[in-house]
Symmetry: C2
Subunit: 449 residues, 2 copies
């Protein structure tokens, strides 16, 4: 389990590349898994990585290509001729092949496609390119093992042997009728245990979970997780079997979705890594900071409107960061729970119940926090009216912030917008502004400046 | 793909429970998957859910038990006798069985264990309970298919048939020597394609990824993802084969980890759902809010120390929420990238390079944001010195906040503390305090109050 290639290996490889000792390089890397090759290429300087990539056989590099950082991959692909890319594509499963093609600039896509020799592979890739990236069609591969319900077992075994050679892993054997309509499945275990005299129609399991090509990736992921599926067949609207999705692709999908949500909550708009360039990181981070800045400027404007407070109760201004922070924190907490609930499909019950619950929860939290503020005010010998103003504002701000945090993602979801955008800076910023306004508004009412 | 049971089915079930129409209930639910049974029980009132649970056969409910919300599961288990729980345990794979046992109060654990009839199952569960929950040992199951390298193929097929009946899904067949030391693997596909005359030692693949019982769950998850494994064998320190981990457990693990990180970033300390009780939600949310409150009170104290500013430059106080918000946002952005990088094991390069990069990035972001502030100040006809004070403070605060956000998780990770705790309220709160202090400190230097 060498998750990180050790530095010795890496510097050996660098030396061998520098001295153009191709034979030694090929020998050294002969036993490495493609995922490790990808990791090595990621850690090498781009020119050395490209050299290594071109040196190795496409059988080895094709799978590695899928694992290389997207930015590096783009650069390596740029140095390859359409024919060289087509050679890599030939080695890939259709789903990965389609992903690579989709990443190329449009002009190159056609050139590469025309270089693919295997006509069936080409047609499969072309079909996959027509589906939306985040749909079941966009996630599936064309490679699968299927048998006809009318076959007998010896016939079936023979057919499967030839099909299995093209499929890197056999999860399930799908059973179709003469029109390629999905009828059920056959597990390898059943086949192992079954008598050789049996007929497919005798032994197949008619109950099979499947996805339609147009189903959303998130829903397929949830279904596979819920039923612990390792592969799911994909059908078109007439239930013709057109592909299958395997769990390893779903693992990647789940991870990417989780990372996207996490980054969105943290105010990062694009999928970036610590190793990305300053330009890429700025592009991902600056928009939310600008939003936050405008929020801060708006808050400053609002305070400017309460200038009398400054003359009469300047101490109030010491508490604006507190009010803003609490508004932001409560909003983020509420929205995070809703966003996760929506993602896991377990938001139940009426809006009305949710409203009552959130208000109840906020009241409890608010009162406890308000008591701490009153205690602080007592020790700091604040005027009791000032302490009360801060405490009551805090309770009101917490209630309103939690409602904003709860209902904004719910409303976005109803309108078909990804609710994850609501968490993080968006909620924080709007709650900052609301919070400050409510605070001074209540202060004005209570203290009468 | 019915992800949510429709309301009709649910109200039918409720009616049948109310009228104690057991036969109709059994008929209605005969074809439901255990995951759907769990979903139905989750949505019923607890007493009805418990009634349904007890009515159904343990063959069906055992797997459902694993899918029921933890809180409900605890309550249902409370109503079962040790013998009834043991019946459920008998139906479960060892890994799930051990998880259920571990959830019981200690006094009940022994009682349930003594009711388990299958001695081998009991011993397996007992062994699994000795491993740390988040280690490979804690994640693995004892069920697997293994063959001896010295067997011939017919012998092997016969043995496998009997083993396969106990294993719900066959991923790989592991090959061991006479001392149960892992030697390699055999794929079902190979067995399918192999000639019946072959010997195990002729056809097995000696290269096999494996995990040690003590490996961390996160590392196993990364390995399985990296190499697209669907199952991984687990060995003890002497390489004896002791169990295997399947990808469906890793999917759950990845998802739980991602949710935990997301909730931690949002300031929620415990795994809660929207449907949890107000008490549970308060317990998860209040601690971070109290932390935030103390941060706000500390910021207020700091401002109290700069009272002269209030008399001479009151407008500065309009900008404290802005400074605090930007400090918080930048800190969260920086820490989120580091936390994800650490989780994915792709934080590379020296600390020194990272420092230079973060400062560069912050300078660029800071200068752009500072220019916006200057423009705002110009339109608001602020004294240029005030605008400059805010702008320069903003740049300094952004640099320092990004360094805190970057290095706090790195340092925590080095000390073996989960860096995810650093994102969210912890970073926000400390950066709020730093930010406010830096702001007034710079203001004092520049404006000389």
């Amino acid at each position: 389990m060498a998750l990180k290639k050790n530095k010795d290996l890496l510097s050996d490889i660098e030396l061998l590349i520098d001295s153009r000792n191709d034979d030694a390089l090929l020998l050294l890397l002969a036993e490495e898994h493609s995922a490790d090759i990808a990791e090595i290429i990621d850690q090498l300087h781009l020119d050395k990585g490209t050299y290594l990539f071109k040196l190795l056989d496409s059988e080895k590099t094709a799978d590695a290509l899928m694992e290389i950082d997207e930015g590096d991959r783009e650069k390596i692909l740029k140095t390859l001729s359409p024919q060289e890319i087509a050679e890599e594509i030939d080695e890939l499963d259709t789903d990965d092949a389609a992903d690579i093609i989709a990443e190329l600039p449009e002009a190159r896509q056609e050139k590469v496609m025309s270089e693919i020799e295997d006509e069936e592979h080409k047609a499969d890739i072309q079909e996959l390119l027509t589906y939306d990236e985040n749909s079941a069609g966009g996630l599936m591969a064309k490679e699968l093992v299927k048998v006809n319900e009318n076959w007998n077992i010896p016939n079936c075994i023979k057919e499967m042997r030839s099909q299995a050679n093209e499929v890197s892993r056999v999860h399930s054997i799908y059973v179709v009728d003469n029109k390629n309509v999905l009828k059920g499945r056959l597990s390898l275990k059943d086949l192992l245990v079954a008598s050789t005299k049996a007929h497919i129609s005798d032994i197949y399991i008619p109950k099979v979970d499947f996805a339609y090509v147009t189903d959303k990736g998130e829903d397929v992921a949830l279904t596979m997780q819920k039923y612990d599926l390792e592969a799911i067949p994909v059908v078109d609207i007439e239930k013709h079997l057109v592909g299958r999705i395997t769990i390893d692709d779903i693992v990647d999908f789940i991870k990417e979705e989780a990372e996207k949500d996490y980054q969105m909550a943290a105010g990062i708009t694009e999928d970036v890594e610590a190793s990305d360039s300053i330009y890429q990181l700025t592009k991902a981070r600056l928009p939310w900071l600008v939003l936050g800045l405008f929020g801060g400027l708006a808050a400053a404007k609002i305070m400017g409107g309460f200038e009398d407070a400054l003359n009469n109760f300047p101490v109030l201004f010491f508490f604006t960061p507190l009010i803003a922070a609490m508004a932001g924190n409560v909003g983020v907490q509420s929205s995070a729970i809703i966003v996760q609930g929506l993602a896991n499909n377990n938001i139940r019950g009426s809006m009305w119940n949710r409203l009552i619950k959130e208000v109840g929860l906020s009241l409890i939290n608010g009162i406890i926090l308000a008591l701490i503020v009153l205690l602080f005010g007592f020790y700091q010998e604040f005027d009791i009216n000032i302490s009360l103003t801060i405490a009551i504002s805090l309770i009101v701000v917490i209630i309103i912030s939690s409602l904003v945090g709860t209902f904004v993602p719910l409303i976005l979801d109803k309108r078909g917008i990804d609710p994850a955008v609501a968490t993080g800076p968006f909620i924080t910023t709007s709650n900052d502004i609301f919070g400050i306004f409510i605070f001074f508004f209540i202060a004005k009412l209570m203290l009468g400046f």
